[in-house]
Symmetry: C2
Subunit: 390 residues, 2 copies
């Protein structure tokens, strides 16, 4: 008998060309703090000007915080919150990829609560204080993969403790998310693939942890995985394929966001986040891909039926002879056809075998998560890293 | 290229036995106005005492408004709002079926806005004034069909003008909905069928009006219709089949609510609501069923592909020889297997052929809706009523 806990309150305006509605839609405040990355990419692409012009059209004031880093940091968030306070902003806009949106989400917390962000971190060295409320959050995505547009999470790194932690709270569901696939056509090939696989893993991991309990999670994950399996090779081949981009955005930013709002990812994400915390230059999708094949070979041993179902969503048929091989095969095929393996390696990122023990230790001991439920041990993590190393 | 407007903010606690969580969940107020029907059914079934005991356990005060009528009225809503004001209630609980929940929703409006309810009606003789806000709404359903648990609508009748109108506004999305299929096992056979078909029509009608635009609507409608086609015959045969009840609740109260939140029903619902407005003893599902077969024979002429897809969701295969017959056949089969036709007739409800003109006139002229978009004329409505008459 299934149960459902449903709560997906983000309002979404999704579709090619729909960013223009920012000029007329009802916004949740009078003055926005716009968070963008420090590389100036939004400005170079002309997207930042488009957004600020649309805000003017809407009669809404704004100030830009343009110091967001990849793997965004607590100190970045605190600087953004200080600017927002100085400028009397009453809502935030995350413009760009996951880093900008997650900075905006964390800043929304710090615009309404005292102290520093880590006072509210719920795991690791966080003080787990309760958040009273946050200012409203608007997201305008130019990348497609995290699901942060529709989920209650942000991921922030503490530079001092080298922790990269999830913040999970209802207060940081976006009030309004613009998902305009036209903006994604500018996404570089590498990031297109990293984020596409990130979305795939969100969907697959939630499908696995859900274990058929919440029927909505199964519904979203199945549709999303089918979309990714069909469309990721198409956007890998041609980043301007707007129809395939639209399908990828739907899978990544709506369906995968919903599954994460309703369910949780597996240890795959926790291990990958530890890698990102220890090696900040490794982007999120890359760290997931580094260990993915070995990781799912391990999961195959204890969730074979679920992995075969995931494989079927990707079009891999099964004859029952090798239970659980379905998703392992599907993943290999998707990695082959998109050529993603050529884009990264642990060695190129400066990771050595000497780092495996610390990655395993931090993952299991320092994330503050009860790791036993994942059925993956420190020894398993080290084995996965060894198998993945090249 | 599809677009999506997503906004489904109701928090849902769904599953057999989960009403007990009312005792511990965070509620959106300190004192509830509980709306129940005047027939005392909730008290007789012991559900009202269970709910008030759980509220006490939660430390929440309450007062009961026990004068909700079938086809709930403006005067009922105004009486409920007066009681809420006198008793200083700060949120509402709709306990029971659509009548109680819709009364609670309309009362939530009137607890925050001056005048009478029809000042805020958006169609018909309503004054279409804007609603500033409403108090938070909690629903506890004992029936399964309207989708009001997760949608932004309520349907209220004005006794003076004989209008039965939809109120549609974001302010009346429930904050929290308990959907516990165990409570549905007490639902009488007749209402089980009427409401099951109501859910089917919500899903089918939204699928038709969506015309494959919003992919989420297609996703919800397809899953919901498959659930209804499989499970409605099972609950018709055995009302205590908890697994089938669970599936019906999921289809009716979550998926059909979501489709209605994201899309609109067709003229089928408008004609049926006019019948309910003119003949208040005719319950909602009954009025839909009265005209359903003739109605879809008409729709078959201009939306054949969509009707064949709907038929396929119900398991009716097609060979292309009679386009659009799919859903017409599926509907006939579902009505045959559940025996629902034996439960009602227009003549038994006192409707005569002399009433057809007024039903057509009120539907097209007095609902304030731009009826032309429905591709159904007054003459069509009269023909549908004639064909349906027995």
């Amino acid at each position: 008998m299934f149960t459902i806990d449903a709560y997906t309150p983000a309002r979404v305006i999704f579709g090619a060309g729909r960013l223009k509605e920012l000029g007329s839609v009802s916004l949740p405040g009078k003055k926005a703090l716009i968070c963008v990355t420090q590389d100036g990419l939004m400005e170079k692409l002309g997207i930042q000007k488009r957004v600020t012009d649309l805000l003017k059209e809407n009669g809404t004031e704004y100030v830009v915080f343009d110091r967001v880093q990849p793997n965004p940091t607590q100190s970045g968030v605190m600087a953004a919150a200080a600017l927002a306070e100085k400028e009397n902003c009453d809502f935030v806009i995350g413009l760009g990829g996951g880093s900008s949106v997650d900075t905006a989400k964390a800043t929304a917390i710090m615009m309404k609560n005292p102290g520093v962000l880590w006072d509210y971190a719920q795991t690791g060295t966080g003080k787990n204080q309760s958040v009273s409320c946050a200012v409203p959050i608007v997201t305008i995505s130019t990348t497609c993969g995290t699901g942060t547009e529709t989920d209650p999470y942000c991921v922030i790194t503490n530079e001092e403790t080298k922790e990269k932690l999830d913040f999970a709270m209802d207060q940081i569901f976006p009030a309004l998310s613009f998902i305009d696939p036209e903006l994604m056509c500018s996404l570089p090939h590498k990031l297109t693939l990293y984020q596409g696989f990130d979305a795939l893993f969100h969907l697959a991991e939630c499908y696995i942890t859900n274990e058929h309990q919440n029927h909505l999670v199964d519904l979203y994950a199945e549709d999303g995985i089918k979309m990714v399996a069909h469309n990721l090779p198409l956007v890998a081949k041609d980043g301007n394929n707007l129809e395939a981009r639209t399908c990828m955005c739907y899978a990544a930013d709506i369906l995968a966001g919903y599954t994460q709002a309703l369910c949780s990812t597996t240890s795959h994400h926790i291990i990958a986040q530890t890698i990102g915390g220890q090696f900040p230059a490794v982007v999120h999708g890359e760290s997931l891909l580094m260990i993915a094949e070995s990781y799912y070979k391990k999961v195959k041993q204890f969730r074979p039926a679920l992995l075969d179902e995931l494989g079927e969503f990707c079009g891999v048929l099964r004859d029952g002879s090798d239970p659980g091989q379905g998703f392992v095969t599907a993943l290999k095929q998707l990695m082959d056809i998109t050529g993603v393996r050529e884009l990264y390696s642990m060695s190129a990122e400066g990771i050595t075998e000497a780092d495996f023990q610390i990655i395993a230790d931090v993952t299991v001991d320092n994330t503050g998560i009860d790791f036993e439920k994942y059925e993956i041990t420190k020894a398993d993590i080290i084995q996965i890293l060894k198998e993945s190393y090249r």
